[in-house]
């Protein structure tokens, strides 16, 4: 019993123990912060990756796309009604995104999709800005530019359909703080015509002196990745400065069914910016724009084309996203759908043209995890590596605890002699110092977890504060880490692991001094001055 009793007593009476506690605390806090941030980074990647795709993706692999996507979608939905909830095709290509008013031009990854279906198979709809405050108004069909104006009673309003949509949001919104924030600033506005860099805020509309309405012409719509249009403010906020409906343009490069450029000049498509999307992954939000599936298919000549040998070609898409019913096991579903795909291919193969047969050969069924695996695996490795590096650095704590306990044993030699004279065994005395080190580890770990957790929970506030002092102090770059916010979650399991290892490390650090203490000869110790 004396081991625990004296360990506890030494813990809060010996000043030197506080150095040990401090070193353990700092190491625990450091490793916990690293584990939490990297772990959160990994979890966010997983979560966002899941939200980017559907559960199952039939992927063309090649850019020219594959035919029969529609037929297979119908077949698989019919063959596996308990598994497949929804299918929707997607086209991927690259183009140039341009804003004529400012002459801003950038490369863009263009996705053609059926918005209503697309947002049912993934989380895309959750990241749309205008669709949040004006639900149901973000569409990819051709539309004119909404312009706020003055009603007869002199109030500034948006066109009625937008005001009604906003009212629907207000009715459905459960968070009164969001409504209050909205009411303070109903909609940011930018003076007609269209663009001014001086105005910025969450919702930006063009304003005219006339009544609210729409400025013609109607143009096809495009949803733009947030970071393609906007940059982060110095205080970490995101500012919009293009009015909703601003005219933009896409230049597209059609490919033949064999993947060759068609030789035609790029197709220029004037469009209207109707919303911006934030998936939270920088690479995507910096690069992607989203347009209507049929429009893109047509502009890229992936819709049915007359064939030289007569007849029409099959329309092509790059992916078929397959949403599953809730509770369906992912890998089992993939295997079922893959089997269905192989059977389907075998059936259509005799009728295929050579180029189509090749692309169907390349097409594969993936789960969303399969698609993201290389990226996730790389991040997992990075997490293990970084955690390991910091854990190695934390070995310093073991050495430090060893040094501190060596000093304590030296200082307590007389006490060791007294204890042995009173009957304590060498093993018992060694156990006392190991228990003492364990207590140092426990207290240091608890403090380290508290400090580490507080730091992680407020890490973005710290960063924003530092960045407000000097932008160079913004250490988390979204260009590098994909996400605009540093993960702020501390997992209980991580904390328990780190604390347990820290306690163990403290005890390991005390082993040599404890061994020496156990070997102290009582007579020498009692004579020790």
């Amino acid at each position: 019993m004396y081991k625990w009793f004296l360990a506890w007593r030494y813990l809060h009476t010996k000043l030197i123990a506080f150095f040990g506690i401090a070193s353990v605390m700092l190491c625990v806090a450091m490793v916990l912060v690293v584990m939490s941030v990297m772990g959160g980074f990994l979890d966010t990647i997983r979560e966002r990756s899941r939200g980017l795709h559907a559960e199952i993706v039939l992927d063309a692999v090649s850019m020219q796309g594959f035919p029969y996507y529609e037929e297979f979608g119908e077949r698989v939905a019919k063959a596996l009604p308990d598994v497949v909830r929804l299918t929707t095709p997607v086209i991927h290509t690259y183009g140039l995104f341009r804003i004529p008013a400012t002459t801003f031009t950038s490369a863009a990854r263009v996705l053609g999709l059926r918005l209503d279906e697309y947002r049912q198979v993934n989380d895309f709809g959750d990241g749309l800005n205008y669709d949040y405050y004006y639900p149901g108004t973000t569409r990819l069909e051709p539309q004119a530019m909404p312009v706020a104006g003055f009603t007869e009673d002199g109030d500034l309003h948006l066109p009625p359909d937008l005001e009604e949509a906003n009212q629907r949001w207000r009715t459905a919104e459960t968070d009164p703080e969001k409504i209050a924030a909205y009411d303070q600033n109903p909609f940011e506005k930018t003076p007609y015509p269209y663009v001014t860099p001086a105005t910025a805020g969450d919702r930006v509309f063009a304003v005219d002196v006339g009544p609210p309405g729409y400025a013609e012409p109607e143009l096809p719509s495009v949803i733009v990745g947030f970071d393609l249009l906007y940059v982060r403010g110095r205080d970490g906020s995101f500012l919009r400065h293009y009015a909703r409906g601003t005219q933009v343009a896409l230049a597209l490069f059609p490919l033949s069914p064999t993947g060759n450029p068609t030789g035609e000049p790029p197709v220029r498509v004037p469009m209207r910016y109707v919303d911006d999307s934030r998936t939270g992954i920088y690479e995507i939000d910096k690069l992607c724009v989203y347009v209507e599936f049929d429009l893109l298919q047509h502009k890229l000549a992936m819709d049915p084309q007359p064939l030289v040998e007569g007849g029409m070609s099959k329309p092509r898409a790059n992916q078929l996203l397959i949403g599953l019913h809730e509770g369906v096991e992912l890998n089992a579903a993939r295997d079922l759908i893959d089997a269905e795909w192989q059977a389907f291919r075998a059936e259509v193969e005799p009728d295929l043209r050579e180029a189509d047969a090749r692309v169907l050969d390349m097409a594969e069924v993936y789960t969303w995890e399969d698609l993201q695996r290389p990226f996730i695996a790389a991040v997992e490795k990075e997490r293990v590596l970084v955690t390991l590096l910091f854990a190695v650095i934390s070995m310093v704590a073991i050495v430090l605890v060893g040094c501190i306990f060596y000093m304590i044993v030296e200082k307590k030699t007389r006490d060791i002699g007294i204890l042995k004279a009173l009957g304590a065994s060498g093993r018992g005395v060694a156990g006392l110092f190991i228990a003492y080190a364990g207590a140092v580890g426990v207290v240091g770990s608890i403090l380290g977890i508290v400090i580490g957790a507080l730091f992680v929970w407020n890490i973005n506030d710290f960063q924003d504060y530092l960045a407000s002092l000097n932008p160079q102090l913004r250490v988390w770059s979204p260009d590098v880490y994909s996400f605009d916010r540093i993960p702020e979650v501390v997992k209980r399991a991580d904390a328990v692991w780190v604390a347990s290892l820290a306690v163990l490390a403290s005890m390991v650090g005390s082993l040599i001094p404890a061994y020496l203490a156990g070997r102290v000869w009582p007579i020498k110790a009692l004579r020790y001055e």
Binding site: L419, R427, L526
Partner: protein
């Protein structure tokens, strides 16, 4: 004839001091009976403390035998010798050797803490604490239980050390110059306490260089040149009847 409580036979002990070897004990022998108050006298550096440490199994001799109730202590393992020190022996040192981080009551409890495991202590804690409080009352320090050693006088510290030595009701009390660090008045007080304990039946073996202190014992042995010299009867209180006729084996 029954075996003596403690018997040391031809104890040899030497220490290395630099390159030289100092032979401290050169065949010292003695016996101590239950209930006896035995004093070992000798000049400073004569090996009194070394002899006491060997009797208390704090050290092992180079040669010789130490028997407690007829059993050779040197045949015991280090852990068993620890149990012997904890259960059978109480030590009182010249410099008190109290633990500075603990208060008086806790210092007295240390042998009891050593004797019990974590789990047993939960059951024994209350009676042990009561025993420690009673022990402190006996030595006149009941009111100082919550004080730290550095808040006590030398005499008080030595009384705490005596209480600590007695907490496990040892058969044998070994006292190493218990008055050596105290002034005459306080020393006499401590001595009276030891005599009182002996009268209550406690066997005491004490080493001292002070003839006055030694005079209170039943029997004195002189340690000189590493061996025990002639025994002498002292002016102390009468020894127990069983000791009255016993010869001291040098």
């Amino acid at each position: 004839m029954s075996k003596p409580l403690l018997r040391a036979h031809k104890l040899y002990k030497s220490y290395a001091m630099g390159r030289a070897e100092v032979n401290v004990l050169r065949g010292a022998s003695l016996t101590a009976e239950a209930g006896e108050f035995l004093v070992i006298r000798g000049a400073s550096g004569s090996g009194k403390s070394t002899l006491l440490h060997l009797l208390g199994a704090l050290d092992v001799p180079d040669r010789g035998v130490v028997e407690f109730r007829g059993e050779n202590l040197l045949a015991r393992s280090a852990a068993q010798r620890g149990v012997y020190r904890n259960r059978e022996v109480g030590f009182v040192f010249q410099f008190y050797h109290l633990l500075p981080e603990l208060n008086v009551l806790e210092n007295v409890l240390v042998p009891s803490l050593v004797a019990h495991s974590f789990w047993h202590w939960r059951r024994e804690r209350t009676p042990a604490r009561r025993a420690a409080e009673e022990m402190l009352e006996q030595v006149g320090l009941g009111h100082r239980a919550a004080h730290r050693p550095n808040e006590l006088s030398g005499g008080e510290r030595q009384r705490v050390a005596i209480a600590r030595a007695l907490i496990n009701h040892p058969t044998l009390l070994l006292a190493d110059e218990p008055t050596g660090n105290l002034d005459e008045v306080i020393g006499a007080e401590i001595l009276r306490l030891l005599v009182k304990l002996n009268q209550a039946g406690q066997t005491i073996v004490m080493v001292t260089h002070d003839a006055n202190v030694a005079s209170r014992a039943h029997r004195q042995l002189l340690l000189s040149k590493g061996v025990i010299g002639a025994a002498s009867r002292t002016g102390g209180d009468a020894p127990p009847a069983s000791l009255a006729t016993r010869e001291v084996a040098p």
